[in-house]
């Protein structure tokens, strides 16, 4: 059994954040992520940290801005409608180059939608969500273990690149329990000489701000930020490859959809169909190189999503439209069954064989 414990995905995020040195959590309750806040409410006071249930999502994200300005690891979490509210603040974090961790445990939308799992905030997460030219690093866990692991990684990446990392989970991964080990090597947070921690009369004032009234200066700020994004795209893209070497039918799926798709790939392989899976772990940067590998060998790519087809656009871009890409989906809080995905694979295999 080693040192594994059974824990909900949401709780694993909270525990991992504490291990990563996060001592400041600001949130506002919303299903299906409230366990994160509940866990923080219980733990933070015992370890000298701050748990604060803010008066609104907007207040919470601005508290995150404040703590991050002071150079400390900080996070907030919410679910889809709450993330929309936080998007203004996320844009300000981007404009001020502040590191932070934001968790979106997605539920069905648009509007208040429902409370069951969804992946329909993919566009919002990978394209920025708020106003202005910016990106977040978007991490997509597919297990409770990864909820923990990617939370720690999210803090590291946020500090390294001075930007927001988002954990893009969903109601299923948040609510399910699986064994999880917290046997992580935790790196100390780096020095933050830019933080507004007081000059001690020894240096000039640090300024954290996203307002640049001079277009010349603001243009340079944007261009520099995109040079950083280019480096991240080159270095940090991550995907799991499953039975990909000889795959003719390739599934693209992340998070809970990838779990379902893996069952279908196994079923297809048992029937002699050469199926495989690419599971993006970073959604931004998108693992383009992994997808480019299957150009020439894949006859069909099926994007399995809990949305009306959002990641499918990145799959098409990454494969330069050289491989036909189709969509297999459920929405509104429904989850595709392995049988549905298997049927899509079988149909694609029959078509490819003609």
């Amino acid at each position: 059994m080693a040192d594994k414990v059974l824990m909900k995905g949401n709780e694993a995020i909270a525990e991992a954040a504490i291990l990563a040195g996060c001592r400041h959590y600001f949130g506002y309750p919303i299903t299906p992520q409230t366990e994160i806040a509940a866990y923080m409410a219980k733990r933070m006071p015992k370890i000298g940290g701050t748990f604060l249930q803010a008066e609104s999502e907007i207040a919470a994200i601005n508290m995150v801005y404040g703590v991050s300005s002071a150079g400390k690891r900080v996070m907030t979490s919410s679910s889809s409608p709450g993330i929309s509210l936080k998007s203004e603040g996320i844009s300000y974090l981007a404009g001020a180059d502040l590191p932070a961790l934001v968790v979106n445990c997605q539920r069905g939308g648009p509007g208040l939608g429902g409370i069951q799992p969804s992946q329909s905030d993919y566009f919002q997460a990978t394209r920025g969500g708020g106003h202005g030219d910016y990106h977040m690093i978007v991490l997509a866990p597919a297990s409770v273990q990864e909820m923990a692991q990617l939370t720690i990684r999210g803090f590291e990446l946020a500090d390294e690149y001075r930007m927001t990392s988002m954990i893009l989970a969903d109601g299923t991964i948040g609510q399910m329990m699986e064994p999880v080990s917290f046997d992580f090597e935790i790196k100390e947070a780096p020095e933050k000489p830019w933080a507004t921690t007081g000059t001690g009369m020894k240096r000039k004032h640090n300024v954290v701000n996203s307002l640049y009234l001079s277009p010349e200066v603001l243009e340079i700020k944007n261009i520099e930020r995109y040079e950083k994004y280019a480096k991240i795209a080159e270095k940090e893209a991550l995907a799991e490859e499953y039975m990909l070497d000889d795959a003719e039918i390739v599934i693209a799926a992340f998070g809970i959809a990838a779990r379902v798709a893996k069952n279908a790939v196994n079923a297809a392989r048992a029937e002699g169909i050469k199926a495989g899976l690419i599971r993006p772990i970073t959604l931004w940067p998108f693992p383009e190189k992994t997808f480019k590998k299957v150009i020439g060998t894949a006859k069909q790519i099926i994007s399995v999503e809990l949305s009306m087809g959002q990641m499918i656009e990145d799959v098409k871009l990454a494969t330069e439209c050289k491989v036909p890409v189709s969509l297999c989906y459920r929405v509104g809080g429904m989850i595709p069954s392995p049988e549905q995905v298997y049927a899509a694979i079988k149909e694609a295999a029959e078509k490819a064989g003609e």
């Binding site: 059974l6 299903t31 409370i115 299923t172 609510q175 329990m177 699986e178 064994p179 379902v260």
Partner: protein, 177 residues
């Protein structure tokens, strides 16, 4: 080997808890496990269910379409899930709450008046654990030591006094013929 369990009934019957005990037992035995609750408004008194997968292989989808085992603690749950159980699978029925019989003849069925037994034995809220005891016994997997350890992981320190009562309920289920 992979076995998929579906616990279904009313919110408040402790189905999520019994699933957790089973999952912890799997974890202690070094298996791969997943536990997935329904988390809708049903938690406040409607139907509730919980899917548990215990496997020698890594668990893929935590969602179950066709369970090997159904534990039904109310009639709507039996009506809804009876047909989905795999042929050769097992259905455990709390026969003090469900009057009808299972219609299928290709599954193993056990009728346990769990709620009645729980009431008679001073553990009125532990019908769920009686069913888990019976379930483990049915598969020849009732290992007293592991069961106790798993329960210990699930009963919070604040309620430590309830551990013995849970254990007793499981034993009642185990010994029920």
């Amino acid at each position: 080997m992979t076995r998929e369990y579906l616990f279904a009934g009313f919110g408040g019957q402790g189905l999520l808890f019994s699933g957790k005990v089973l999952a912890y037992k799997g974890l202690i035995e070094d298996k791969n496990v997943s536990w997935l609750p329904s988390y809708g408004p049903e938690m406040r008194g409607g139907t509730a269910n919980c899917s548990v997968i215990i496997s020698d292989e890594p668990v893929g989808a935590p969602i179950i379409s066709n369970p090997d085992v159904l534990v039904a603690m109310n009639l709507p749950s039996l009506d809804k899930y009876e047909a989905a159980v795999k042929p050769g699978g097992t259905i455990l029925v709390d026969s003090s709450l469900i009057e009808r019989k299972v219609n299928r003849d290709d599954v193993n069925v056990y009728y346990v008046p769990a709620t009645k037994l729980a009431g008679e034995n001073g553990a009125p809220t532990l019908a769920n654990m009686i069913l888990v005891g019976k379930l483990l016994e049915t598969y020849g997997e009732y290992d007293a030591e592991t069961v106790k350890t798993a329960l210990g992981k699930c009963v919070s320190a604040r309620h430590a006094d309830l551990l013995e009562l849970n254990l007793k309920a499981m034993e009642i289920g185990r010994d029920f013929e």
